[in-house]
């Protein structure tokens, strides 16, 4: 009888230790999985300065890298606009045509207007806009 009681108490202790071990294991594993899950990309490289933007004449463009993305910056009459240079069709990099005031994709002759909206061609959606900020003569681009 005495022996049996002992084993049941021991059994409960083992169960408790197992439970605590499981909790500890989870407490160590779950954060590391969350850690490995990619954090917001580009967080590290937000607010990228556009080099030479102040020397850009009105109607012309330049490209800048924001995080992993190429961004095209155009100086318009009212300031700068920036869009992801990646065409929404197949991912080619678009270029700015100052004469037509359009972004042209060299791959499938797609055209986007100066607000990034599709004018012609196969792209399924508009160019992804980027935030542009002017600070004391310098131009910064960041994802929205």
């Amino acid at each position: 009888m005495q022996y049996k009681q002992k084993t049941s108490r021991r059994g409960f202790l083992d169960w408790l230790i197992g439970l605590c071990s499981a909790i500890s294991g989870a407490a160590m594993t779950i954060p590391s999985l969350m850690y490995l899950w990619p954090a917001a990309q580009g967080g590290e490289s937000s607010n990228v300065e556009v080099p030479g933007a102040e020397n850009l004449s009105v109607g012309t463009s330049t490209k800048v890298q924001v995080g992993p993305r190429a961004v095209i910056v155009v100086r318009g009459r009212d300031g700068y606009v920036a869009f992801s240079a990646v065409c929404t069709h197949l991912g080619c990099l678009v270029r700015w045509d100052p004469g037509k005031k359009q972004f042209l994709c060299p791959c499938h002759a797609a055209a986007f207007d100066d607000k990034g909206q599709v004018v012609s061609g196969p792209p399924p959606g508009p160019l992804e806009p980027y935030k542009v900020k002017e600070v004391s003569g310098k131009v910064f681009v960041s994802s929205i």
Binding site: S24, A39, A40, G43
Partner: protein
């Protein structure tokens, strides 16, 4: 348990699993000497911290970028943006400190209990090597965040390498990968820290454990006495000793997390090779050497200084062959214990001097400025000791 049998049966049918199982069981259930107690857990703590360092280190590597341009930013990113990134960075940084503490305590235990004596001399030697490798880990890892303190501490640290006789400048050039601490240094330290040292340490740990298992743990008996003990009085490593260690490990994890939360290591400002911050000091485990080096000036002094810093380590390595007394119990070896205590207190005192040098301290309401060499200077009320710092800084060991 049908699946278990068939699963193990798969291996049984193909390999001689019995021998392997017996070997493992022999090791796992091996009986440790009856007096194995709480002081023996420091070894396992060190091992656990090494594993923790490996795991957190691998996790940090997922986001860390070892270039001067990106290193600091990537640390900021992983600390600020990545889920639990702050935790792994802090646990890694604190883990390093605790690992060195655990190693030191383990060494003290071994020393004062005479466990390094015959037949375990080589176990002790591998242990000292493990300690040296671990502080090298600390030195190389310290640079990786590429912040001001890391950059300049490494500059000062590698500067003392130039004091090594004959090959000093060559050695320094080699360590830095150039004339100054720069991107090349970062690459080198990175490779040493994440590739070379981990494998060296793993190998040494394996050897250390192997030797330890060959001779079992030491008893407190004389060297020429038999260490045999009745098997039933021995403590089985598993599950008995292991349970004891796990209970301490759990508390260690809590301490590690607490330190990480309450005393986080700052990211600091990005390294700037053009401006030296004041009060650059190495990590605590280098402070005794740092302070000792200060007392040796000039070409011959530097020579002697480097030797003075090396002697303790050499002495540690050869100690089992120097101290050939038969006694293990500390009370029966007054000389060895005294030497150990003097060395320990000396190192602690030098470390403390290194810590307070070039700062102002308060003793019973009287302010003192501690100069470079550790001499206190009385300060009048309101006077600042800062003025001495500039002069002191110029003659810091790294500045020559």
């Amino acid at each position: 348990m049908g699946w278990q049998r068939s699963f193990l049966g798969f291996f049984d049918a193909r390999f001689d699993t019995d021998t392997g199982r017996k070997l493992v069981e022999k090791q796992v259930f091996k009986r440790l000497p009856p007096h194995t107690g709480w002081l023996h857990v420091f070894a396992s703590l060190s091992l656990f911290l090494f594993i923790s360092q490996t795991v957190t280190g691998i996790l940090l590597l997922m986001y860390y970028r070892p270039t001067p341009e990106a290193a600091h930013k990537s640390i900021q990113y992983l600390t600020g943006e990545v889920q639990f990134g702050w935790l792994y960075r802090q646990v890694h940084a604190w883990g390093a400190t605790l690992m060195i503490m655990a190693l030191l305590l383990h060494m003290c235990r071994t020393y004062f209990m005479g466990a390094y004596k015959k037949p375990r001399e080589l176990t002790w030697v591998t242990g000292v090597l493990l300690f040296i490798v671990t502080i090298t880990f600390g030195f190389t890892g310290y640079l990786l965040p590429w912040n001001q303190i890391a950059f300049w501490a490494t500059t000062v640290g590698t500067e003392s390498a130039a004091k090594v006789p004959f090959i000093g400048h060559w050695l320094q050039y080699f360590l830095r990968g150039g004339d100054v601490v720069a991107g090349e240094t970062l690459s080198r330290f990175f490779v040493v820290h994440v590739i070379i040292l981990p494998w060296v340490l793993t190998g040494l740990v394996g050897l250390h454990l192997f030797l330890m298992r060959l001779n079992n743990l030491s008893s407190s008996k004389r060297v020429d006495e038999s260490e045999e003990f009745p098997p039933e009085t021995g403590i089985p490593f598993f599950p008995v000793h292991a349970a004891k260690e796990v209970s301490v490990l759990i508390l260690l994890v809590a301490v590690l997390v607490t330190l990480s939360v309450l005393l986080p290591w700052e990211i600091g400002e990005p390294a700037d090779p053009l401006s030296t911050p004041s009060h650059i000091k190495p990590e605590w485990y280098f402070l005794p050497s740092y302070q000792l080096l200060k007392y040796f000036e000039g070409p011959y002094g530097a020579f002697i200084g480097i030797i003075a810093c090396t002697v303790p380590f050499v002495l540690l390595i050869v100690w089992p062959f120097v101290d050939r007394g038969k006694e293990r119990h500390p009370r029966k070896r007054p000389l060895a214990v005294s030497i150990g205590l003097v060395g320990l207190v000396g190192a602690l005192f030098l470390g403390w001097l290194g810590h307070v040098s070039e700062t102002d301290i308060n003793v019973f309401g009287q302010r003192y400025h501690i100069d470079l060499l550790g001499w206190p200077h009385k300060l009048a009320d309101g006077e600042e000791g800062g003025g001495h710092d500039g002069a002191g800084g110029e003659s810091a060991p790294g500045e020559h």
